[in-house]
């Protein structure tokens, strides 16, 4: 990374400069728009050349850290390598140039791709069908809870509450609210797990669902998942699986056998589609047979003659969640990734779990581990020992940048004060893991021996510590001409 000031593109602007070229207009310049509905010039909009634009975005990119710069330990986000073939496949003109409302007969390739991806995800989850519609994980959650609501309504009562463990992602409670439910939080026990008796007490007849992340955000697998499912089902509720951590067991175990009724997957996590600095995501949702009628429209169907079509005529559906059919370009990338592993995809989970356990073993003497249950794909330390020297997780995060690594997740999970949530993924080999471990060990030493160094960190990034409070106090959200 290089420290350098790069002006805003608008500040690079010079009157009359152009970077684009269009063919000359080859029809009469006749417009129907009445004069009073036409705008004037877009004042302030950029006037720059192509080389201005090229340099601008190259310089800006150097102020980012990506996975190809090195290990990206951000817990819960599954920052794995994005294979380059996937990018090329999504850009095949037949895919990238196709229109969502082109006649069905001219988009059979797209439809077959979606149909195949659905079958694969159904096989991996052990559930009946998968909707590919949701735009991202959070919308997948909403789709899932709305399907549950619809199924309960059919029996006369949508119920009132959704149970969510205190270790859950923030999207879970927000989703439940948007689906019209009230949230009841379940306390995790001292082992970071859900207590069956706590669940039994909370699981009343007015509870629609338990939303549970598997493994949970502490990287711990609920050993008694089947009993948990039994308790929920016995009271007529549904078990919602948040599949954000699917990378821990994909290809080895399946949600259907766990008793999960509905589970969303984040294709940008487990299935390697790029995070892209914050999207696009895609959040397919797998459902058990009894929820199939309630899947959002459209669904992808196959006729007896082998042709495919989008079905929007489904009377018991929760309805439509977006325009068009799916995050298609993201689906292409995910399928490309899955095909590269095929039936060996379980190796991904094994390597991811091995890597997380290795980091745990190499750092457990220096960093506090609040919960010592077996670690799956991620390990959550805390800053308890470093805090004795006045150094907190946020300081460790900033200091790690000086070692060239993005920080672990520090804002989360809420039940670990000063959390340092580390997820190495299967992408890394031992040398990369060792380099990260050495950086973390060195930081632990610094915390003991020269804690004063942390206040100024990071020292080597393009900008020094950013004043976020000031941004919120006096929001400047755009450049002005």
């Amino acid at each position: 990374m290089k420290a350098r000031d790069e002006p805003l593109i608008f500040e690079r602007s010079r009157p009359g400069k152009v970077g684009y070229s269009l063919p000359p207009l080859d029809v009469p310049e006749e417009l129907e728009i009445p004069a009073e509905l036409r705008r004037g010039a877009i004042d302030g909009e950029a006037e720059v050349s192509e080389v201005d634009v090229a340099r601008h975005f190259t310089r800006l990119s150097r102020m980012n850290l990506g996975i190809e710069d090195g290990l990206y330990p951000l817990g819960s986000c599954t920052m794995k390598h994005n294979p380059r073939i996937n990018e090329e496949m999504a850009r095949l003109p037949g895919f990238a140039g196709s229109h969502p409302y082109a006649p069905e007969g001219l988009t059979q390739g797209n439809l077959e791709l979606m149909w195949r991806l659905e079958r694969i995800l159904a096989e991996l989850t052990g559930l009946a069908r998968v909707t590919l519609t949701p735009c991202a994980g959070a919308q997948g959650e909403l789709a899932g809870i709305l399907m549950i609501r619809k199924a309960l309504e059919k029996h006369g009562d949508p119920r009132k509450y959704v149970l969510i463990p205190d270790s859950a992602h923030g999207t879970n409670p927000a989703t439940a609210t948007f689906a019209g439910y009230q949230v009841k939080e379940l306390k995790s026990n001292v082992n970071g797990r859900l207590d069956l008796h706590v669940l039994e007490e909370a699981m009343t007849n007015d509870v629609a669902a338990l939303m549970m992340t598997v493994p949970n955000t502490l990287g711990i697998f609920e050993r008694r998942i089947r009993e948990i499912a039994d308790v929920v089902h016995a009271r007529g509720g549904y078990l919602y699986g948040d599949g954000a951590n699917f990378n821990a067991f994909v290809g080895l175990a399946n949600p259907g056998r766990m008793g999960i009724d509905v589970m969303h997957m984040n294709l940008h996590k487990t299935f390697s589609t790029p995070h892209g600095g914050g999207g696009p995501g895609a959040g397919p949702v797998a459902v058990a047979e009894n929820l199939v009628p309630h899947m959002p429209v459209p669904t992808i169907e196959r006729r007896e003659d082998g042709t495919y079509f989008l079905d929007t005529d489904r009377t018991e559906s929760i309805g439509r969640l977006r325009s068009f059919s799916s995050q298609f370009g993201v689906l292409v990338r995910a399928l490309s990734y899955i095909l590269s592993y095929g039936e060996e995809i379980g190796e991904v989970a094994k390597d991811a779990v091995l890597n997380a356990n290795y980091i745990r073993a190499r750092l457990a003497d220096l960093y506090h581990l609040k919960y010592d249950a077996p670690t799956m794909h991620e390990v959550v330390f805390s800053d308890k020992r470093q805090a004795e020297h006045g150094i907190h997780n946020g300081d460790i995060a900033k200091r790690l940048m000086d070692y060239g690594f993005p920080p672990p997740t520090v804002s989360f999970p809420l039940i670990v004060a000063g959390a340092l949530m580390i997820e190495p993924t299967e992408t890394e080999g031992k040398p990369e893991l060792d380099a990260f471990v050495e950086a973390m060990r060195s930081i632990a030493k610094e915390a003991r021996e020269k804690p004063e160094i942390f206040a100024g960190a990071p020292y080597s990034t393009p900008v020094r510590r950013v004043d976020e409070a000031r941004a919120a106090k006096n929001p400047i959200l755009r450049w002005k001409p």
Binding site: L65, G94, H275, I338
Partner: protein
């Protein structure tokens, strides 16, 4: 590594996963494929589609075929953009943050609004978020009034979201917006150009909303129009939202797309989704970070303004590159070309016996055509002539079986438009 862990085998690390939930066999999804095989496999699927490069393309209805300069897509290949995470840690994300800040500026300039967010999923959900935002701004009211000329899939999506939120959606003809809006109404929304291509005066929404103190919402599904038409902000609307994919993002069978939401400065704290803001670092140097995040789910949980977590980062970046390179002159020229070429084709079609224009008012780059037979028949016959002639309205409006939407952009050269008209004439 196992020795360091103190485990005998990798299997030992899975001790918490009960045998009963394990799969009994490897997943039945085929053998691993090499790059060559993946290319062959997916290449064969892609080849089964007829797409914009080997047919004359006149499809729109919310997804338009526009030019994407080479530099826009190529920028996405840099790994610092492709594989970086959401910029929660600003010191290692200044590239992403500055790009978002710039995109917010572009969208504010285009919509005539004071602020825009970092992007939303796509157009339909952007309308949902705009309406939910309006419900927070006009607190205590429970009704949204929507024009029937808003994209039908946007309206369907609103109904799905609102069903469980004790809000009511009323959909009316444009001329009845004022009648439908009352003291219980928190938003009045119209689309321009509307789903059928007609350009409206945004004041239609403004006056209906102003009469009862509701928020006026402008929906834009063809963002290139913003470079030529009076934008919602300039017309005094409170919120602008919709689909910005036309600004540099490929069609890709509809998505990933690029939702946007822009509003008045006074309303920014009720905006959903991510926002990048300008600040300084510890040395006083300009820097950017995500801000006002106390609105969001990762802080507010069940009290958040939305459950939304991602934006469309890569698409917003691609669009920032597009908007920068097209710039003030290129955006205008693109919009003028779209409008002029559409006018040209519209006149040619209107002159064909048996065909008539079914969109009454002025149009930008899209209009509905009524033909002598079902639209599906017309479209199929044109497809045989390598022309993707339009989108049948019967998909959403069964009673409009003979009508189809035709969109024209800067990508359609005159000879292609002439061929369209000539071939359509053979079907009269």
């Amino acid at each position: 590594m196992l020795a360091a862990i103190g485990a005998g085998t990798v299997e030992d690390l899975f001790e918490d996963v009960p045998a009963a939930v394990r799969t009994e066999h490897k997943p039945r999804i085929g053998k691993p494929l090499s790059e060559i095989e993946i290319r062959r496999h997916l290449g064969a699927l892609a080849a089964r589609n007829v797409h914009a490069r080997h047919a004359a393309h006149f499809l729109g209805a919310g997804c338009y075929h526009h030019y994407v300069p080479a530099i826009a897509d190529q920028t996405l290949y840099r790994e610092e953009w492709l594989s970086s995470y959401t910029p929660y840690q600003p010191e290692i994300s200044q590239g992403t943050l500055q790009s978002i800040f710039e995109w917010q500026t572009h969208l504010a300039l285009l919509t005539g609004m004071e602020v825009a967010n970092a992007s939303l999923y796509e157009g339909a959900t952007a309308l949902v978020e705009a309406l939910l935002m309006a419900s927070r701004l006009a607190k205590g009211r429970h009704r949204a009034v929507l024009s029937k000329n808003i994209h039908p899939e946007y309206r369907d999506t609103v109904r799905t979201y609102f069903r469980n939120l004790s809000f009511e959606v009323v959909e009316v003809e444009d001329e009845k917006l004022g009648l439908a809006a009352d003291a219980q109404t928190f938003a009045v929304a119209i689309q321009s150009p509307d789903f059928f291509g007609e350009v409206h005066d945004w004041k239609l929404a403004k006056s209906a909303a102003a009469s009862c103190g509701a928020m006026a919402v402008g929906v834009v599904a063809e963002a290139i129009s913003l470079a030529l038409l009076v934008p919602p902000g300039e017309a005094g609307l409170d919120i602008a939202c919709g689909e910005a994919r036309s600004l540099g993002v490929p069609m890709s069978y509809g998505a990933p797309a690029l939702g946007f939401l822009a509003c008045r400065d006074a309303h920014k704290r009720q905006m959903p989704g991510r926002l990048a803001g300008q600040t300084v670092d510890s040395e006083g140097k300009r820097a950017f970070c995500l801000t006002l995040s106390t609105r969001e789910q990762h802080i507010r949980r069940e009290k958040a303004t939305s459950n939304i977590c991602t934006n469309q980062g890569l698409m917003a970046l691609c669009s920032n590159v597009y908007l920068s390179i097209m710039g003030k002159a290129g955006l205008r020229e693109t919009a003028v070309q779209c409008a002029a070429k559409a006018t040209y084709l519209k006149k040619r079609i209107a002159a064909i016996p048996g065909f008539e224009i079914a969109t009454a008012g002025p149009t930008f780059n899209e209009f509905a055509v009524r033909g002598p037979r079902t639209a599906s028949e017309t479209i199929a016959a044109m497809a045989e002539r390598d022309i993707l002639a339009g989108v049948p309205l019967s998909t959403w409006f069964p009673e409009r079986g003979r009508e189809f939407l035709v969109a024209v952009t800067e990508m359609n050269p005159r000879d292609e438009i002439d061929r369209y008209a000539a071939e359509l004439a053979t079907l009269s």
